[in-house]
């Protein structure tokens, strides 16, 4: 077998795949954050908790209702999205006339409450969730587990569908226009408050979908969201707050960068994203794909 800079290919491709999987979650989560921030101007700090709720939704569906993974993949995001919409209607809506900071504080508080409730009920150690796609394929240079491949493909497909919907459809043109001038869009006869509720639900649903995808790959635990969300916020800052394409490209890209760092300089693997964030903030404060507002 060939070697690259003294690294065996199994290790390289193994880390590359792990990087892609992490990237798949970064992309889905930062995409939801971008959609929400674009229209609501709310930095949704509850995103990690909503991702965790998605994973728990899948676990509960299986253990309480006997709904298998594939059913939970639809059911859990839907239910978490509905909970999100209730939060928007009852809480977030009251804060739109205030500074961004209030929305951030509210969602941060919600994240703590939601995590606390799940920790009280289910403990902090994590619950197992069976792999719905066991087995894998030997590609020669590496072994590719089926479910891991599924995560990457599913995330890519969902991200591209969302991008298409926002950038290329009539519905997306309403969303883009309302992101710029919600008052004027409403004066054209569109029910913008309802659109805001649905958009928040959609972004939250994306987080929950990522959570369901994560359930078989990681353990289902109350803290799974808070571990991930800090990195995701760094991804969003690098990509550019509110940029749809930026969220997708930087999500996958930084996952891969992180994976490669693990191969070539493991000591930096947990900080590399934050180093990149610092550099991007210095050179292009609005992010790689962002435009200054």
């Amino acid at each position: 077998m060939f070697e690259l800079l003294g690294i065996p290919p199994q290790a390289l491709f193994g880390q590359l795949l792990l990087g892609l999987i992490n990237g798949a979650f970064y992309a889905l989560l930062s995409l939801g954050l971008a959609v929400i921030f674009g229209l609501l101007n709310v930095i949704n700090f509850a995103h990690g908790a909503q991702y965790m709720m998605g994973a728990f939704g899948a676990w509960m569906a299986l253990n309480y209702l006997g709904v298998p993974f594939w059913g939970a993949l639809v059911l859990s995001p839907l239910i978490v999205a509905i909970i999100g919409m209730i939060i928007e209607r009852t809480l977030l809506r009251r804060l739109y006339h205030l500074d961004h900071l209030y929305g951030l504080l509210l969602t941060f508080g919600l994240a703590l409450i939601i995590e606390g409730l799940f920790r009280r009920q289910y403990g902090a150690s994590g619950l197992p969730y069976d792999n719905p796609l066991p087995g894998g394929t030997n590609l020669g240079f590496m072994f590719l587990p089926n479910y891991r491949a599924f995560i990457v493909v599913a995330s890519l497909v969902v991200c591209l569908l969302v991008w298409f919907m926002i950038e290329r459809t009539k519905l997306g043109s309403y969303l883009r226009a309302a992101t710029e001038r919600p008052d004027l869009v409403q004066a054209f006869g569109i029910d913008v408050p309802r659109m805001i509720t649905l958009t928040y639900g959609f972004g939250v649903g994306l987080a929950a979908l990522a959570g369901v995808l994560a359930a078989p790959a990681y353990q289902v635990s109350p803290t799974m969201g808070s571990n991930l969300i800090i990195v995701v916020f760094a991804v969003v800052v690098i990509g550019g707050m509110g940029s749809i394409l930026g969220a997708i490209v930087t999500g996958f890209g930084l996952g891969v960068v992180e994976g490669l760092t693990k191969v070539f300089y493991p000591e930096a693997s947990s900080t590399v994203i934050f180093v990149i964030m610092a550099i991007v903030l210095m050179v292009k404060p609005a992010g790689l794909f962002g435009t200054a507002k």
């Binding site: 043109s173 226009a177 710029e180 004027l184 054209f188 006869g189 569109i190 029910d191």
Partner: protein
């Protein structure tokens, strides 16, 4: 021609409006009849744009009465008011930069039957068809103004609120917009126009309301404009 024997299309009575703490409209009252082109004339800061925003529901703090086809709209959300058949072309034009020209044109939903088709709109504004794939804000000022007017013609709205469509445009383009407004009138649209350009207004309007300090202080029929010229000039400071 004009039918002022029937009920007014728009009836504004004792309209008050606030921006935060400041009281901007102090009892505006005026009517617009179906098929008319009516202007609100007045100096900067007289409350003309605020009146438009109040009619559209964009000014939340408003009281008094605004009736459209007999329906009271004070208290309705802007999207509900739009669905009654009122559409606005705002002063700053409000072209969306993240939308193409075509997306901008097709953005406002059709609220009532009887609007212009896209083909009819392209006949009136051929430039918009040529530039349909450009980013909305890449258009020239005149083209953006055309687009801002064009996109509200599709919706079936009968009352068009045009806020200073001549502002900042070259004379030849202002003249073109004047022609467009005359065409719209022939097609049966009713237009409420805010203008500071009195001479432009006098070429297209049926009547003029003079606004000062948030209330209507005078009304002049366009065909009596010559005999009132001195008084209007004093009021408008032109």
């Amino acid at each position: 021609m004009l039918d002022r024997t029937s009920a007014p299309l728009l009836e504004v009575k004792n309209l008050h409006g606030h921006y935060g703490e400041s009281h901007v409209l102090h009892g505006m009252s005026f009517d617009v009849y179906p098929g008319e082109v009516v202007t609100l004339l007045g100096r900067n800061g007289a409350g003309k744009t605020t009146t438009m925003r109040a009619i559209m529901g964009l000014l939340r703090k408003r009281s008094g009465s605004i009736r459209y086809e007999g329906t009271e709209t004070v208290g309705l959300q802007p999207n509900k008011i739009a669905r009654l058949g009122i559409a606005i072309c705002p002063e700053e034009r409000g072209i969306f930069s993240s939308l193409s020209v075509r997306e901008n044109l097709l953005l406002p939903p059709v609220v009532l039957p009887g609007g212009l088709t896209v083909d009819e709109i392209h006949e009136l504004f051929p430039r918009l068809e040529e530039r349909r794939n450009s980013q909305g804000t890449k258009l020239s000022g005149g083209e953006q103004q055309m687009l801002a007017i064009a996109r509200i013609l599709r919706t079936g709205a009968k009352l068009l609120l045009l806020d200073e469509p001549s502002e900042g445009l070259a004379p030849v383009i202002v003249q073109h917009i004047g022609e467009i407004i005359k065409t719209l009138k022939q097609r049966g649209f009713t237009v409420l126009l805010v203008e500071q350009n009195f001479h432009f207004a006098s070429t297209i309007a049926d009547r003029h309301y003079v606004v000062e300090h948030g209330r209507v202080v005078d009304m002049v029929e366009n065909d009596k404009i010559a005999e009132n010229a001195a008084r209007l000039e004093a009021l408008l400071g032109v």
